[in-house]
């Protein structure tokens, strides 16, 4: 019998997880100027009303998706920001449609 692995606990990237600028830089390999640009084009949104910039776990996922879209589909970051917003909207509408469909048709 192989030894059972030790349990590992990760961090859930949700709105409760907060990354400082430096932490986000280390996790993503991006520099401060690149992260600044991500904020400018609307890919990242700093947590409001904080003395220093910080970002939620959800913005880490947004950043990853934006970079994948840029790399794989050849769209620039402004376009990726728009795609992200539209994808979120599409996902929201899909969930809504699923819910309503199930309410109507069981």
């Amino acid at each position: 019998m192989p030894k059972p692995p030790r349990p590992v606990t990760g961090i859930v990237l949700d709105e409760r997880t907060v990354y400082t600028l430096g932490e986000l830089g280390r996790a993503s390999g991006l520099g401060a100027d690149e992260i600044l640009y991500m904020v400018e084009v609307g890919i990242l949104e700093p947590v409001p009303e904080q003395p220093r910039w910080c970002f939620t776990g959800a913005s880490v996922s947004r950043l990853q998706t934006a970079l994948r879209l840029q790399r794989d589909l050849g769209i620039n970051l402004e376009g990726a920001a728009l795609a992200l917003d539209l994808l979120e909207e599409v996902n929201r509408l899909r969930r809504r449609a699923d819910l309503l469909e199930r309410q109507l048709f069981g």
Partner: protein, 325 residues
């Protein structure tokens, strides 16, 4: 290994020009990109398309690939010709920026694998999902995996044994995969689409460099009764016409166990009742919404039909009054 018909994958003719190949790739990439598509096999499909484009968009690789001839079928058993390595040297080709070493097929690795070996392992600083940008200290690549959990697991939390295949490079620069078992803690209240970041569980770093991270994207399997909207849970609850009309206390399943719900008198089909805090747990737990669905029993006996006729006589009710009829 299996032969890959890159022309077939992109849906282009063998004599297609550069632009046609690019157009075909773009179109398929938009359709199958895992961040865009909701198809469960999107990641696989996209990987194939990307690999095909990697070869067919590069004149050298395409010429080499074409030399294999057109007699092969997709998926056919295949071995590279014995003189392949001497005829083609992709050792210095490089140019695969941002592509994770784990992402191409065995077929590609055998024919063009040299492309990956250009440059030190740590030369590409970050994992593929970060777009390969940057230029920082050498660190192992981030790995991405997807785990499916049941709604009950998401609610209660728990442990999940997973196997991840982690690529590493040996002394010759070849990509090897080794399987690692992990026992991952699933926190109670994890939501669909969220990621769990496991620090240092990605690919090993080059030399003394730290390992990358492992990101687990959580997908909650559809449940036969409950539906999710973020941390809120929805349930359709069938009720009788008299329960709806007169009000009733009914038992309702929730993820945490059944509770009693007060159906108010005069309730209507589609009415939404909220069970506060009965959704997915968290510092601000979600709610459960119960959507009433009035089920009308079919009269089975003459006596039951008579009851309906009495209602028709005694209850002045026109559900179509708003329609003006």
């Amino acid at each position: 290994m299996e032969y890959k018909d890159y022309y077939k994958i992109l849906g282009v003719a063998r004599d297609a020009d550069k632009d046609a190949i690019k157009r075909a790739y773009r179109k398929l990439a938009h359709k199958h990109h895992p961040d865009v598509s909701k198809e469960p096999d999107a990641a696989e499909r996209f990987k194939e398309v990307k690999e095909a484009y990697e070869v067919l968009s590069d004149p050298e690789k395409r010429a080499a690939y074409d030399q294999l001839g057109s007699g092969w079928r997709q998926g056919q058993s295949f071995e590279p010709p014995p003189d392949w390595e001497t005829n083609f040297d992709f050792g210095g080709a490089g140019g695969l920026g941002g592509m994770g070493a784990e992402e191409f097929s065995e077929f590609f690795e055998n024919l063009f694998g040299g492309g990956f070996r250009a440059g030190p392992f740590g030369g590409r600083t970050r994992g593929s999902a970060w777009g390969g940008g940057g230029g920082y200290a050498a660190r192992g690549e981030d790995q991405h995996a997807r785990i499916e959990v049941s709604l009950e697991e998401a609610f209660h939390g728990g442990h999940r044994r997973i196997q991840v295949s982690v690529p590493a490079r040996d002394a010759q620069g070849r990509v090897t995969h080794h399987t690692r078992n992990l026992d991952v803690t699933l926190p109670a209240g994890i939501r669909d689409g969220q990621q769990i970041r496991l620090s240092g569980q990605g690919s090993a770093g080059p030399g003394d460099g730290p390992a990358g991270d492992l990101y687990l994207a959580v997908h909650i399997r559809p449940h036969p009764h409950f539906q999710l909207d973020g941390k809120d849970v929805y349930l359709n609850l069938p009720v009788t016409p008299w329960e709806a009309a007169l009000g009733a206390k009914v038992r309702v399943p929730t993820l945490g166990g059944p509770v009693t719900l007060n159906v108010p008198a005069g309730a209507q089909s589609g009415q939404k009742l909220r069970l506060k805090g009965r959704g997915l747990p968290g510092s601000h737990p979600g709610d459960q919404y119960v959507v009433l669905q009035i089920r009308v029993p079919k009269p089975e006996t003459e006596e039951q039909s008579e009851l309906y006729r009495q209602m028709a006589q005694k209850m002045a009710f026109n559900p179509r009054s708003q329609l003006g009829v």
